[in-house]
Amino acid sequence: MPKKIVQLIFPQKLIKKPVIYTMALKCKVMPNVRRAKVTESVGEMVLELEGTRENLEKGVRFLTKQGIKVEPVVGDVIE
C-alpha cells in the first residue's frame, strides 16, 4: 500500500485533541508516529501514513481542514 511521510504542525487548540486517531478511523489511514515534540503553544509530529492513494489524500485533507499544517518529508513512497 502507498505510504506518505509527513510533518504536522499543530496549533495550540488542537494539541489536546485526538486528531490523528479520528483521521485514522474516518479516512482508513494507518499512522505510524516516529517523532513528536510539544511545547506550550505548538506541537510537531513526524509520521508515516499508510493507506490507499485516495484515503491518503482524504486523510491529509482532513488534517488540513482541522487547522494542521501538513508538510511532506519525502515524496510518496509507492510499494
Partner: protein, 408 residues
C-alpha cells in the same frame, strides 16, 4: 582519498552509508555527513591549506567527496575586509564584510554548495541534476551543471526577479516556473524526486550540498588570520548557511587550526518571512511555517528545513535574531553601496538592516569584532531599488547645459 565516514541522523544519531539519501529511515530526521576527523587531524595544516589554489577545495579534507573535485575550481576565496566606512555609519569599532556578491561564477554563495553537490553527484553516478530554488541556486546549478556537462532541470517560483530568470535561462537548463511560492515548489520537487533518478541538490543530495556552506566559514577564519569573530550576522532562508558556518568554525578548532570559537550567531530575515526569528524571539523549539511576503525573494522560505538547527545554534551561542521591513532592506542596500561600494541583492540588505537593528538595540556591542555576511549580487534584484535611487541628470551635449544642471 576519502575522509567521509558516512551519514548520521541529526535526531537519533543512527549511521548510514554515504549514498544519495537524506532522511533517517527510523525517525525521518535529516542526515548529515560525518568525517574521519582522527585521520584529518595533523594531516590538514594551515600551511597545506595556504599552499593550495584560492578556491573552496583548499579545505577538501573537510568536504564530502571521495576522489578529486570536478566542479568549482574558481569558486570561493572571495574578498574579506574591514569595512570602516560602514562601521562608522553603524557606530561600531571593528566591522568586517565577507563578500560573496562576487563569488564565481554566478555571484552568490550558492556556487559553493553547488560545486560540492555536483562533484558528489558525479561520484554517485548521476548525469542529471535538479533543484528547487528561490533564484540564486537556480543560477548556480544552471551554470555549473552546464560547465560540468550535466543535464539540468530547475524549478523556481513563477514570480522571481527578471535578473534571476535570465541568469538561469542563458545556461539553457530545462527551467520550470511553478505557479506557487518556494515551499510549494519544494513540495512538488520532493514528489518528483521520488519518481526520477535525478540528483536534486537540495533534496536527495542535501547532506553533501549543505557542507559546501562551511567553506564560507573556513574562509572567514583563515582570512581573519586563523581566528573567528565575536559576532556574525547571517541571512537565513532555510537556515543552512548559518548552521554550517558554525560547523565550519567548530571543525577548524577540532583540527587544531584555530582557537576555541566564541562567536555569537545572529540570523537576519525579512519581516514578511521570519519563522526562524519568531522561534528565537519566542524561545520556541518548533518552527511555525509562514506564507512569505517580502521583496527579499531569495530568503522567502516559509518552512525552513534547517530552521530548528539554526535557532538552536543561535541559542547555544547566546546570539539573537531580527527582521527587516522592505523599506529597511532598500535603505540598507543603499547604505552598503554608498559606504563600501558594494551592490548587494535584497538578502544583503536584510543582513545590513538587521545588523543595524541589533547594534542599536544593544544586542551586539559596539566595541567587538563583527562580521556581516554579504551573500548575493545587487544586479540580480534591480527592481527592488530601481524606484529608490534617483535618476541620472539629463543634459544637452553643451558646456552651458552642464553648468546649468550639474551642481555638486
Amino acid at each position: 582519498m576519502s575522509f567521509i565516514k558516512g551519514l548520521r541522523c541529526r535526531e537519533c544519531g543512527r549511521e548510514f552509508p554515504a549514498k544519495a539519501i537524506f532522511v533517517c529511515e527510523y525517525c525521518f530526521g535529516s542526515l548529515e555527513v560525518d568525517y574521519d576527523y582522527e585521520r584529518i587531524h595533523g594531516r590538514l595544516t594551515r600551511q597545506l591549506i595556504e599552499s593550495r589554489p584560492a578556491n573552496i577545495w583548499r579545505y577538501r579534507e573537510l568536504l564530502p567527496i571521495d576522489g578529486d573535485p570536478t566542479v568549482g575550481f574558481h569558486t570561493g576565496m572571495t574578498p574579506f575586509y574591514r569595512a570602516d566606512r560602514l562601521g562608522h555609519a553603524l557606530g561600531v569599532k571593528e566591522l568586517y564584510i565577507k563578500d560573496d556578491s562576487v563569488c564565481h561564477p554566478t555571484l552568490s554563495f550558492k556556487d559553493r554548495v553547488v560545486s560540492v553537490a555536483l562533484s558528489r553527484a558525479k561520484e554517485l553516478g548521476f548525469d542529471t541534476v535538479s533543484c528547487a530554488s528561490t533564484g540564486n541556486l537556480a543560477n548556480s546549478v544552471s551554470a555549473l551543471a552546464a560547465h560540468a556537462g550535466m543535464k539540468r532541470v530547475i524549478f523556481i517560483p513563477a514570480d522571481l526577479e527578471m535578473g534571476k530568470v535570465i541568469g538561469s535561462l542563458i545556461y539553457a537548463p530545462r527551467l520550470v516556473a511553478v505557479e506557487g511560492n518556494y515551499d510549494e515548489v519544494n513540495r512538488l520537487c520532493a514528489e518528483v524526486a521520488a519518481r526520477r533518478k535525478w540528483a536534486f541538490v537540495n533534496i536527495n543530495i542535501r547532506p553533501y550540498y549543505a557542507e559546501g556552506s562551511k567553506t564560507y566559514g573556513f574562509e572567514i577564519a583563515e582570512q581573519m588570520g586563523w581566528k573567528t569573530p565575536r559576532h556574525i550576522v547571517v541571512p537565513a532562508a532555510s537556515g543552512s548557511l548559518l548552521v554550517k558556518i558554525r560547523k565550519g568554525f567548530k571543525e577548524l578548532h577540532k583540527m587544531g587550526l584555530i582557537p576555541q570559537p566564541e562567536t555569537r550567531f545572529y540570523a537576519a530575515q525579512a519581516q514578511g518571512c521570519a519563522p526562524i526569528v519568531t522561534a528565537v524571539q519566542e524561545g520556541s523549539d518548533i518552527i511555525k511555517p509562514v506564507k512569505p511576503k517580502t521583496i527579499a525573494k531569495s530568503l522567502a522560505i516559509g518552512n525552513p528545513a534547517d530552521g530548528y538547527y539554526a535557532a538552536d545554534a543561535i541559542r547555544e551561542t547566546n546570539g539573537w535574531a531580527a527582521e527587516a521591513s522592505d523599506e529597511e532592506i532598500v535603505d540598507a542596500m543603499k547604505l552598503l553601496a554608498q559606504t563600501e561600494g558594494i551592490f548587494t541583492e535584497t538578502a544583503g540588505g536584510v543582513t545590513v538592516a538587521v545588523a543595524k537593528k541589533l547594534i542599536e538595540g544593544k544586542r551586539i556591542p559596539r566595541d567587538e569584532s563583527i562580521v556581516l555576511c554579504i551573500t548575493g549580487q545587487g544586479l540580480k534584484t534591480q527592481e527592488a531599488v530601481a524606484d529608490h535611487i534617483g535618476k541620472p541628470i539629463r543634459i544637452k551635449p553643451t558646456l552651458s547645459s552642464f553648468e546649468e544642471h550639474v551642481k555638486l
